[in-house]
């Protein structure tokens, strides 16, 4: 992607702030021209002094000052405009990216670390700020300055002007020599490496207890150690490859005097030495000022690489296709039918669900059981259309889920995950998310039904306590009870429930079980069960193994059948009486 393409993409995010950026660029160019005026006035001051006019020279001094201050003031105005536009562009990028992300299939989130996506969106947007706020106005100034300088070149001495121009051209060439070749993609590689290092550092810090236990050092954390070394080496390698170019560049932008001195002396020998002296002083002072602009241009090459990496990151997020909205309103019934459904997680080879067909009949409780990794939880996620099936179809009362309006589908479905997450909101608002219009009283009743009274009682601010705030801690079972309250409040006819497996203590477990028992009363339920006793009285049991349905039926029928389920059942009973102690 070229810079112009990057900027094109960016302007798609800027919206109406584009105009402000343009305004800032015009101001910046204007300020740059004004910035040349003081030199013109100094030229005037010196020539009047040489002609013997003293008071006049002082006036030129003041004008030079006013021009300088006007230059700064306009430059500040320019930077403020570009900054405001840049900040708002970055904001738009964040908003648009997040709007997009909310509609993505959930497969996207399991395959990616949330930290990495956050970095792409948040840091990526920030990385565009430098370009839009600082570097574009600098580039605008750097384009206008030589034009103005060439004009001045004809106003005063063409020869000496040419000398200054020549040094600037040489400096630019030195600068270009550093940017091509294998240095071209350096910044992108460097950023990627930093991202990798961040992910590895997180793993490392998480692993500190294990490192302690097994007496490991950072050197045994090979990938992390290697990335640190590689990052340092790559940066050094890059820096050193610029040694010749950079020192040549710095020398050349300060080299105008080498040409100006002989030129002035030769010109003075042929013409009026006094006039030559005035021009010589002007160009001697003017040359370093031109150098400053080129210098700024130099730093903008880094910004170009940055913006490149940023735009590419955001585009990576934006280019992922979101789930398509069907738009149909769901019909009345809520029988859920899986027909020959297959599904593979993105990036995996093995099908998580392989040609599965079954019907979740209205008003019945259907339990999914089977070894871990057998595809039970995937079925639950597909039923909620968190992913789209690869083959086959899932229909709700005869209509394909993909043809339905997603919002309306969620309206009639209550989902309780095994690893529920709560929002960083008050407990009350967390529950109210189930039905936004519900009154405080209804929220309280739902919490009671979900057996949450003891949790609320111990919280400092009761239902108004913000989840995750200082001094509050919830066990996994407690979080799930609050999620159950949400489901009670929602009062949806279809319930998808993924049973929890780990509990902090028995009291918690007991309350949760009571709440679940109450929730499933009179509803159509799809339940992922991890303990077999749970499903003894389920209406239908579906046994899954390796992504396929291997058995189906009632509890009694399955036990007497002598298949996988009956094996699991006897193992379960055996496990229930296991003890941690060497055999006696």
């Amino acid at each position: 992607m070229r810079l112009s393409q990057c900027l094109g993409k960016l302007s798609g995010y800027s919206g109406r702030w584009k105009a402000l950026t343009a305004f800032g660029l015009v101001l910046s160019a204007g300020a740059a021209v004004l910035g040349l005026l003081p030199y013109v006035f100094i030229h005037g001051a010196v020539s009047t002094i040489l002609m013997g006019g003293g008071a006049e020279a002082v006036r030129y001094g003041w004008w030079a000052l006013w021009a300088a201050i006007a230059n700064i003031a306009i430059y500040i105005a320019a930077l403020m405009s570009t900054h405001i536009a840049a900040f708002n562009t970055a904001r738009n990028m964040r908003i648009m990216a997040m709007d997009h992300v909310r509609g993505l299939p959930l497969g996207f989130f399991t395959g990616n670390q949330s930290g990495r996506i956050r970095k792409l969106i948040d840091d990526g947007s920030s990385m565009t700020e430098d370009m839009l706020a600082h570097k574009l106005p600098d580039i605008a100034a750097a384009i206008v300055t030589p034009v103005a300088a060439i004009t001045l070149l004809f106003v005063f001495s063409p020869w000496m002007g040419l000398a200054v121009l020549l040094t600037m051209v040489l400096a630019l060439m030195a600068m270009m020599s550093m940017m091509g070749g294998r240095n071209a993609g350096f910044y992108m590689r460097y950023q990627k490496q930093l991202g990798k290092m961040a992910a590895e550092a997180v793993e490392y810090v998480r692993a500190v207890p294990v490192l302690k236990t097994f007496n490991q050092t950072v050197w045994s954390f090979k990938a992390f150690h290697r990335t640190i070394k590689e990052n340092g080496d790559a940066a050094l390698d890059y820096a050193l490859s610029c040694r010749k170019g950079q020192s040549a560049f710095l020398t050349i932008i300060n080299s105008a005097f080498v040409m100006l001195i002989p030129m002035a002396l030769i010109l003075a020998g042929r013409g009026d030495p006094a006039l030559v002296l005035v021009d010589f002083i002007f160009y001697t002072l003017f040359a370093p000022a031109c150098g400053t602009f080129i210098n700024k241009l130099m730093y903008s090459s880094e910004a170009v690489m940055k913006i490149h990496a940023a735009v590419e990151g955001i585009e990576e997020v934006m280019s992922i296709k979101s789930l398509e909205e069907g738009g149909k309103m769901p019909p009345d019934g809520h029988e859920l039918k899986f027909s020959h459904v297959s599904f593979t997680y993105p990036g995996r080879d093995v099908k998580a669900v392989d040609d599965v067909s079954f019907t979740l009949k209205e008003g019945r409780l259907t339990a999914l059981v089977g070894p871990s990794g057998g595809g039970k939880s995937t079925i639950a996620a597909l039923a909620a259309r968190f992913w789209d099936v690869d083959a086959g179809s899932i229909t709700s009362a005869g209509v394909d889920l993909r043809d339905l309006d997603h919002g309306a589908l969620m309206e009639k479905t209550a989902i309780v995950f095994q690893d529920v997450r709560l929002f960083q909101l008050s407990i009350k608002e967390n529950v109210r998310a189930g039905r936004p219009g519900a009154s405080d009283e209804e929220v309280r009743q739902a919490l009671s039904k979900a057996r949450c009274d003891d949790i609320i009682a111990r919280l400092p601010n009761g239902v108004d306590t913000v989840f995750g705030s200082e001094g509050t801690w919830f066990s996994g079972g407690e979080v799930q009870r609050i999620a159950l309250a949400r489901a009670f409040l929602k009062d949806a006819p279809l319930v998808i429930l993924d049973e929890a497996t780990a509990y902090a203590d028995a009291e918690n477990e007991e309350k949760l079980q009571e709440a679940v028992k109450e929730l499933v009363k009179g509803r159509t339920v799809l339940m992922v069960a991890h303990r077999l006793s749970t499903v003894v009285n389920a209406d239908d049991i579906i046994v899954m193994d390796k992504g396929r349905v291997v058995e189906e039926g009632t509890f009694d029928a399955l036990v007497s059948k002598g298949g996988l389920f009956s094996q699991m059942w006897s193992k379960w009973n055996e496990g229930a009486s296991w003890k941690i102690k060497k055999e006696l």
Binding site: I76, V202, I228, G232, Y503
Partner: protein
């Protein structure tokens, strides 16, 4: 001097001497850039002479100019690597030093700060520091010195003109310093607003399922718009504040050119200053402001360098746990002797806890969550140090033993297993450095891992990604047991090692654990009481104290908390979702 640099900038000795070298060369570079002004002045003198009718000599001055240019190039060429070589070597070293230091810190260090904060110090702050050490810091230090040198030289020539040209410098530099407090405040508020946005993004990504399930997309989107609008507001304010002080500095610098012209003209007209010196001072004034211009531009970055160095130092200067390297216990009884402990002052987790876990026995810790079971287990490993009392292994207080030496005697299996981004073979070999492949495979077999490892694409050479995300909970658990088996340590700690497993995995894992615990000192935490009912010794921990203790059978008969818990659980075990 070197020591001072080491301390102030958190550098190694090598880094500090490198920085000194960089500063010296930068000073020379700064001074060398004043030389063209001097040569140009010689040319001006020549031109003035020509006005008076003398003949010009072009060659000598041209020669001098070329020599000066060569000198500038040589100095910059020499300076360049001193900025970078040192910086990036130091950068890798600093990161490794921080990582090494981190793993030696007591876990209490991590409980006070979050994960992203610590990793940010290693990755982000260090990257920023690279920029500091290659640019801002040598430049700032060198500019201070070179400006002073030039000022003295100018004052020697004509103190009035020197004053007229240089009075602005201290004032210009003072502006940002004055504004620092206001800038700090706005800067902090700005960072906070930025973090709020990052946090919102993270939360949305983590709760995306819930957002979808509750149809909260629009609500989340409008909340995000508010958060980002607030961020923009703070960014603009922050930019304004820092912009104002820096721009004030720029404007004051420009005043200097005017005062030089005005003072110079006045003196010149009075005949107290020669035209040559007048021109010289004007050229020198323009040149001397250049590095200060740069300094003003970078001053806020230089301020934030301090902040970042502080964050790095917060890690590097945290005290590590120390102790004797010499620890060779004969027996391995673990004794808690009146131990009290709290994570935060005032909220004690363990209160005057005393018990002994005997070698060759299984000691089980049970009780309600928050009762202090896991804390006791972690204290036994010296992951934290106790507040009161002592923990003894074979009669030696473990707080006097170096943690690395102490932990060679322990094997632990935790509920949450950490796997490394390496092959399965290496992940298990972690248990004992230098163990042969055969030893590893034997341990894996004993831990019931062999079967599932063989089904993986590359068997033992399968590389695990992202903390072994592709493995099930039971499989991960068994790998960590294999590790513990390989280590063959005399003390075994098991914290809820089977809690998150399903039935099939659980019975496999239980077999593995039975193999692991033979004839060792075993301290086990379990929520499911049936798994520990036959332990030699059961301690019921509640509210940081021992409520009951004894063998399981007598506790059942006693009818206390243990018996109640057991009764409750056996009921739960057979619950069904519909009656």
């Amino acid at each position: 001097m070197t020591k001072w640099i080491e301390r102030t900038y958190a550098l190694s000795h090598k880094g500090a001497t490198g920085l000194e070298k960089a500063v010296v060369l930068t000073i020379l570079c700064n001074l060398s850039l004043m030389l063209p002004v001097s040569v140009s002045l010689l040319a001006v003198r020549e031109l003035l002479n020509m006005i008076d009718g003398e003949a010009a000599s072009v060659l000598p001055l041209t020669g001098i100019a070329i020599i000066v240019l060569a000198l500038i190039w040589v100095l910059h060429y020499m300076q360049y690597p001193t900025l970078y070589i040192n910086t990036y070597e130091e950068s890798s070293d600093r990161r490794i030093r921080m990582a090494e230091h981190l793993r030696k810190l007591p876990l209490s260090f991590f409980s006070h700060r979050n994960l992203s904060d610590v990793t940010q110090a290693i990755v982000g702050d260090c990257a920023e520091l690279d920029q500091m050490f290659s640019h801002y810091i040598p430049q700032t230090l060198a500019t201070a010195v070179s400006t002073l040198v030039i000022a003295v030289m100018m004052a020697c020539i004509d103190w009035r003109m020197a004053l007229a040209a240089l009075w602005v410098v201290p004032i210009a530099v003072l502006f940002p310093v004055i504004g620092k407090r206001l800038q700090d405040r706005e800067g902090t508020a700005n960072i906070k607003a930025k973090l709020a946005t990052a946090n919102h993004i993270q939360q949305t990504l983590e709760t995306i399922r819930e957002i979808r399930a509750c149809n909260m997309e629009d609500k989340d989107a409008s909340a995000f718009r508010l958060v980002t609008a607030n961020q923009v507001r703070h960014e603009i304010r922050n930019e304004l504040v820092s912009g104002i002080f820096v721009s004030a500095g720029f404007i004051v610098l420009k005043l200097g050119i005017a005062s030089t012209v005005i003072t110079g003209t006045t003196l010149l007209l009075d005949g107290r200053l020669s035209l040559l010196y007048f021109i010289g001072f004007m050229a020198a004034a323009v040149m001397v402001y250049n590095p200060i211009d740069n300094l003003l531009q970078n001053i806020s970055a230089t301020f934030s360098a301090k902040l970042r160095i502080k964050r790095v130092k917060a890690v590097i200067d945290s005290p590590v746990q120390e102790g004797s390297k010499c620890f060779t216990p004969q027996g391995h009884d673990i004794t808690f002797d009146h131990v009290s402990f709290s994570y935060e002052s005032g909220k004690s987790v363990l209160k005057d806890l005393s018990f002994t876990a005997k070698e060759g026995e299984v000691t089980a810790l049970v009780g309600p969550s928050g009762g202090g079971k896991t804390t006791a287990c972690r204290l036994a490993e010296r992951f934290w140090d106790v507040d009161e009392g002592r923990i003894l292994v074979d009669g030696v207080d473990i707080s006097t033993v170096d943690p690395e030496v102490l932990l060679t005697h322990y094997s632990s299996v935790f509920q949450d297993v950490t796997l490394f981004n390496d092959t399965i073979m290496e992940n298990i070999r972690l248990g004992r450095k230098g163990a042969s492949d055969e030893d590893v495979i034997r341990a894996a077999r004993a831990a019931q891992c062999d079967d599932f490892i063989k089904t993986l694409p590359d068997g033992y050479d399968t590389v695990l990604s992202e903390n072994g995300a592709s493995l099930s909970g039971g499989e991960r658990q068994r790998i960590s047991i294999a590790r513990a088996l390989l280590k063959e340590a005399p003390i075994i700690l098991l914290d809820e090692a089977t809690a998150s497993l399903d039935v099939e995995s659980e019975s496999e894992v239980q077999k593995a654990i039975s193999a692991l615990t033979k004839d060792k000192t075993v301290l086990v935490i379990a929520h499911r009481l049936r798994t520990v009912i036959n332990a030699d010794h059961i301690l019921v921990l509640a509210n940081g104290r021992i409520e009951e203790e004894g063998p399981g059978r007598s506790l059942m008969e006693a009818g206390g908390r243990f018996a109640q818990m057991a009764a409750l659980q056996s009921g739960l075990q057979s619950w069904t979702v519909r009656e």
